[in-house]
């Protein structure tokens, strides 16, 4: 099944929207995905000097769910993302992956544990082709004596497999330089690179920011595919409420470093989430 096929199926929100948590009580939250907890964030605090970025965040993210983290600028969503992806360490609190406590000190630790991040800038090298971008830093190699040489045939074959077979984008030529791609295709290449590491969790930072409707649609289908076919837990960090209402199984709202609610799209609206993001409470 490809990205397009996966999108035709109805997203499985797990709990089907029952028992939505009270706005201020995020301890009793709807369950999504398979119901197995993938990532546990327990009482996480983060301070940068005198600035408090996160205060006592408690959150469980489940296997095979699409979890969206929303909030206004400075709400702490990027800080929480950076803690999960190993860029920052929490000042206080614990993070568990598959029940095991983790203490990432850098992004490589997170990668080894199966957590991949696609940053907003996508970290693509425009002058290089898609296959090279996907495998940069991890090329399949062939040993000749003591020296390792890049196996370009294998690199292309694996890149083709990821882009054409797994992501279903057969129209994309993997020899194309990234600078020739549309916004949605660039996002797809960034996701393809994470798939080369066989991740369990993918964090997408503002995945549809500044994209056209068509390009955003391609990204949505890719996210559906990751969950449905690859069984990957996807965490989306976004400030676009319209976007996450379409694709997320659950939505966590951060306000001034506090996780003020976790809800499901069926129980939320653009207006209610906007209120929560901007004031920390639901309006009337």
């Amino acid at each position: 099944m490809s990205v397009d096929d996966a999108a035709e199926e109805t997203p499985d929100t797990g709990s089907e929207g029952e028992a939505v948590a009270d706005a201020r009580d995020v301890g009793d939250v709807p369950v999504a995905g398979t119901g197995e907890v993938k990532l546990e964030i327990e009482n996480v605090h983060k301070r940068f000097g005198r600035v408090v970025a996160l205060q006592g965040v408690n959150l469980d993210i489940y296997e095979k769910e699409v979890f969206a983290l929303v909030g206004d600028n400075g709400a702490g969503k990027s800080t929480l993302m950076n803690i999960i992806s190993g860029v920052h360490e929490p000042t206080e609190g614990t993070v568990r992956l598959d029940g095991r406590e983790i203490a990432f000190t850098n992004p490589s630790d997170a990668r080894e544990a199966g957590v991949e991040t696609v940053y907003q800038d996508l970290a693509l090298m425009d002058d290089l082709d898609i296959a090279t971008n996907i495998f940069m830093g991890q090329f399949p190699q062939r040993k000749i004596g003591p020296f390792g040489f890049i196996d370009w045939d294998e690199t292309r074959e694996q890149a083709r497999h990821i882009v054409h077979d797994r992501l279903g984008r057969t129209e994309i030529d993997i020899d194309t330089e990234v600078q020739f791609l549309s916004g949605g295709q660039r996002q797809l290449v960034a996701v393809a690179r994470t798939l080369a590491f066989d991740p369990d969790v993918i964090i997408l930072d503002e995945p549809t920011s500044a994209l056209s409707v068509d390009a955003a649609d391609l990204v949505h289908r890719t996210i559906e595919y990751l969950r449905e076919e690859e069984g990957i837990t996807v965490i989306i960090v976004s400030h676009s409420i319209e976007d996450v209402l379409q694709i997320a199984d659950r939505i966590g709202v951060l306000y001034q470093g506090v996780l003020v609610d976790v809800t499901v799209p069926e129980e939320a609206s653009l207006e209610s989430l906007t209120d929560l993001m901007t004031t920390g409470t639901y309006g009337d």
């Binding site: 992004p107 800038d121 830093g137 890049i150 020739f180």
Partner: protein, 338 residues
């Protein structure tokens, strides 16, 4: 994008694709035109195989400097100090080996001379790399400072030609076949490293987008230091070949060569902003510059004192071609963007 018909249509997906490929390889039609012009205007330059061999022999030091500059440019950096490194390392090594009045004459062992010249080149390269990578010094300013320091240092050490060097020491640059062999091997090795090793691809990644390279796990600081170290070693090797070619260490050794190396790299299609360019293009650039130099030297109409003027004109033409190429490329990419 418009499409192409016929033979070109079979090779290229679109007209834009054809134009971009032509822009990336424009050194070859330019070289063909220059060969034709030299053949018609200064025929003695390409008189026979011997004269072509002489061009290649004299091009060997420049070839190593073009490779050094190309490596730095591909990584998104500059190295203005390559000629200065070539000159200073050759001067120090020559003073250690020779017995001239102003020389130190510490040994006549040519192998110590080889070790010394490469070590000096590597150390100056490491210095450049550490300053740029670890202390975030602007590459242009760092290598400009090093250019001035070591060019001045060379002049402070000695202002007379150094002769009486061991024949083994002069052999690499003084033997046509060996020097041409060095040129060929250097380009093949450089091509293999850049294409088939993770280091080579990391250099391209660094030049294309440093932040992205860092995010995908490339240790950019190490790559930068390695790039400048290799550049230093190649520059020192160029100094060794120049010494052998001339048979002495002339006081002005290495001076002004950085401009020819820049011209060769840029006209050969190496991007001034990194991440784009092929080793074959750089080879074309070397051949072009060497051919023009040889034609200028052979031309009865041009005085020796005017050659530097023409070197500047060649550099200017290279930069104008680069600008034109970048501009056309930008227009095509903008028209294809969604």
């Amino acid at each position: 994008m418009s499409t192409l018909d016929g033979f070109a249509g079979g090779l290229f997906e679109s007209r834009d694709d054809f134009v971009l490929t032509l822009l990336d390889n424009m050194i070859w039609p330019i070289l063909a035109l220059v060969i034709l012009a030299v053949y018609l205007l200064v025929p003695q330059t390409l008189q026979n195989v011997r004269s072509v061999r002489l061009i290649m022999w004299s091009a060997a030091p420049l070839a190593l400097l073009v490779l050094a500059e190309s490596l730095c440019l591909l990584s998104g950096h500059f190295d203005l100090s390559i000629g200065s490194i070539a000159g200073f390392s050759a001067m120090v090594s020559g003073m250690v080996l020779a017995n001239c009045p102003s020389c130190w004459g510490l040994t006549t062992n040519p192998w110590i001379g080889f070790a010394l010249i490469f070590t000096i080149g590597a150390l100056i390269g490491v210095f450049n790399g550490v300053m740029v990578a670890r202390f975030n010094v602007n590459p242009f300013l760092q290598t400009l400072a090093v250019l001035i320091i070591f060019q001045g240092g060379k002049t402070a050490l000695n202002t007379q030609p150094i002769s009486g060097l061991p024949s083994t020491y002069l052999f690499p640059g003084g033997t046509a076949d060996f020097a041409i062999g060095v040129l060929v091997v250097a380009f093949v090795l450089f091509g293999v490293v850049m294409r088939y090793t993770p280091f080579g691809q990391a250099v391209y990644a660094l030049g294309s987008d440093k932040d992205s390279a860092l995010e995908v796990g490339i240790r950019t600081d190490r790559v930068i230091i390695a790039v400048y170290t290799i550049s230093g070693v190649l520059s020192a090797f160029a100094g060794l070949l120049l010494t052998g070619f001339v048979g002495v260490v002339p006081p002005l050794i290495g001076e002004g060569l950085v401009f020819q190396a820049f011209a060769g790299a840029v006209i050969g299609g190496i991007s001034l902003f990194g991440g784009r360019g092929k080793v074959t293009g750089a080879l074309g650039g070397v051949l072009l510059i060497a051919l023009i130099q040889s034609a200028l030297n052979n031309s009865a109409a041009i005085e020796a004192t005017q050659i530097q003027f023409f070197n500047g004109v060649v550099l200017l033409i290279a930069i104008l071609l680069y600008n034109t190429r970048t501009s056309i490329r930008g227009r095509i990419l903008a028209s294809g963007a969604q």
